[in-house]
Symmetry: C2
Subunit: 410 residues, 2 copies
DNA sequence: TCCATTAAATTCATCCGTTCAATTTAAAGC
DNA sequence: GCTTTAAATTGAACGGATGAATTTAATGGA
């Protein structure tokens, strides 16, 4: 059984390859707390105040952080702590969500505050890369104008793309918005826009948004599931976005929940997506419900209306979708055992038809191991949050670049 | 959407909490290579030869490593490199696999070499903890006698237990071999045997065995799946055993592969296990095949014989099991995207009935993303390897304890 | 108003792990 | 036996982090 004669134990590096420097940890602490004094940093990170002074002085000299104006503890004796914060002007990034119907963009400063927001209602179906570039340019210019900034002020752009994306390589394996496979989108956009770009799957970035700005900030392990055009998932384990092994795992939408089941747009049968995605619901509606004519823009709303009005066929469409969705969720929950599952996406406007079935199925199909069942939370659909996730991704890249660079940027 | 007014970014520690010390890295390097010279360690770890000298001198003074007798490069000029290796006598550990039919134990020295092996064919079904303690004692004494050692020579004992095990807490949530739930097995055994104990799910430890001693040593991401009494899975991601979020995730056997499907012993319906585990196959055989009488010890072999002989009912049992197993595997592969899947376990004696269906289903249900399909490998069932995994777990604990202890152990 | 008290921040000598450069050691080749 | 080559060791030097002492900035009471 031994693959080698000598030795045992794994060959690769056990832990993270690069040790995080004290500077990085201090920076992250300030970023996470928003405002925090040197004493607190020393206490929280378990390093000496002397070190904190050295590091923060360096970060201030480099223009990344600043002391806040507000002095807080007027009630206590002693020298008041002076809080530190990220310097808002240090960097500005853009975050985009490319969607099939709407493209949303936000501008964030280094403190994570939103400077501007735009939404362009241009449909994207199998578009060529030129269209994408122009769309992004337009959105950027609008938002920059709002904020009174120019392209040169942008330090990075983060972009969420539906489909299979390899974030590391900046490669889009397949996306419903692109007209071909294997598009090296990052390189392409960096050439066109002359700005560092970071791309990832949109569901991953929504999970990142929850991790950085939302409920996930204080939760170590959670999952974000989205239903709209397709079904997506982002997984956060141990306060970190789980990227899969090759950067594009997590293909929840194509989990098989019904052997020999419905045909999916991926060509396989029984995929979860083939039961719960927009196109899947509409496909069924076309079969059984002439009341929902093809081509009308709000067909899903019509279908939903029918179900609410008591149409049994319409109801059964949602009911089956809910059941299978619940089974798929239970499978994922059994594997990852998270504290929280966040459901998000357009389709959750139909949540009360969903939620009963889904919760029921989740509970029926989750293993009992003493601990309480997972919390299930619905988040209304907000493109703006997706875009903030993309911006967070960009901010992360910027701060990493700036921090490892160190002295030469001073 | 913001959960707090100030700051952004995750609150917890981003990377591994504790930085790995240089000493630990050097030790792991020597362990992984079996024999390696100081120059090579310096080159491989990117640290200076001077540091390696310091650290290895310290490790030698503490009796953990030693220089090998063999001088190798007689053909090259210059001072010959002297290889270092772990000192075999430094520690001895035991590794056990508690199984429903057989309990296997191996003794390993610090070099990972097997000193002794025993197997006790005592069935374990819902046994009380006393029985377990006595069984382990007996196995230990036999093996120690073989090796000419005593209990006092043991530095730790690793134990693989079927069922839901929380390795961190040393707690068995549920196991088919124990008569009650929530058994604090580690504390219990530490009291009874007066030796540090480490317990984990048996499939996890088989994955660890593959990682430490087997094919997994040079593969970053792989999955081990076992079929015997139940269905188990161990996942290795980034050269590390993935433990789930609460120490007992990974419940592959209870993935739902058929909505409203067959009843599983966990009480739910449609679990993978309810189609492919021993008891599931036999349940079907009882229904349709009076040729396979209940109570006979080799019923599975009989069923297999029937299938080989052309009995259509018997064949259909295996065929369905294979199909659903393939679907379940494909789901897991789509999520984790590993390089390799290792199938192991008793039932793989029936592999050629399985493999065709399984492979077919895997390929039909795996997403295509450019990279080649996962490699699927069958490993014959060897209780001894499971036990070695348990021993590896123990060795890991011992070396961690010894290395963090540092100077005071000198 | 002034000074004691309290607590935060800073300074600086010191420590410790690591490295560089020089040296020693151990072999082969001629 | 001397030169060459390469591994291992030694010791001075470096740099990040710390502890102790000091400075700074506030409150509270005389």
């Amino acid at each position: 059984m031994d693959s080698e004669l000598l030795g045992y134990g794994p060959r690769g590096l056990q832990s993270s390859a690069r040790d995080e420097t004290a500077t990085e940890r201090v920076f992250q602490q300030i970023r996470a707390d928003g405002e925090t004094a040197r004493v607190d940093i020393a206490r929280d990170l378990g390093i000496s105040p002397a070190t904190v002074t050295t590091i923060t002085a360096d970060l201030m000299a480099r223009g990344l952080i600043e002391e806040t104006a507000a002095r807080t503890n007027a009630t206590v004796r002693g020298r008041p702590r002076v809080a530190l914060q990220l310097r808002a002007q240090a960097h500005v990034v853009a975050g985009l969500k490319l969607g099939d119907k709407v493209t949303t963009l936000v501008l964030l400063d280094f403190q994570g505050r939103q400077l501007a927001e735009t939404a362009l209602r241009q449909p994207l179906h199998f578009a060529d890369t030129n269209t994408i570039v122009q769309l992004i340019s337009k959105a950027l210019d609008q938002a920059l104008a709002q904020a009174g900034l120019s392209r040169a002020d942008l330090s990075a752009i983060g972009i969420g793309v539906p489909g299979f994306v390899d974030a590391q390589l900046g490669l889009v394996h397949w996306s419903p918005i692109l007209d071909r496979r294997m598009v090296p989108l990052r390189a392409l956009l960096e050439d066109a826009l002359d700005c560092p770009i970071a791309i990832d799957n949109d569901a991953n970035l929504l999970a990142l948004a929850e991790l950085w700005f939302g409920v996930g900030r204080s939760i170590r392990d959670f999952i974000v599931v989205t239903i709209e055009q397709g079904v997506g998932m982002g997984v956060v384990i141990g306060n970190q976005l789980y990227q899969g092994t090759r950067g594009c795992g997590m293909e929840f939408g194509h989990m098989k929940v019904q052997p020999e089941g419905a045909l999916c747009r991926c060509g396989q049968r029984g995929c979860l997506e083939a039961y719960v995605a927009d196109y899947a619901l509409l496909r069924e509606a076309e079969m059984a419900l002439p009341l929902v004519p093809a081509g009308s823009p709000d067909r899903l709303e019509k279908l939903f209306g029918e179900a609410k009005a008591g149409n049994l066929a319409a109801q059964s469409i949602f009911r089956r979708a809910g059941k299978l969705f619940g089974i798929g969720l239970a499978n994922i929950v059994n594997i990852f055992d998270p504290e929280l599952v966040i459901l998000s996406g357009e389709q959750l406007r139909y949540d009360y038809l969903y939620s009963r079935e889904v919760r029921e199925m989740m509970e029926m199909n989750s293993l009992e191991l003493g601990h309480p069942p997972v919390e299930l939370r619905l988040h209304k659909w907000e493109d703006q949050l997706w875009a903030k996730g993309a911006a967070a991704f960009a901010l992360d890249r910027v701060s990493r670049r700036v921090l490892v660079g160190g002295a030469q940027n001073a």
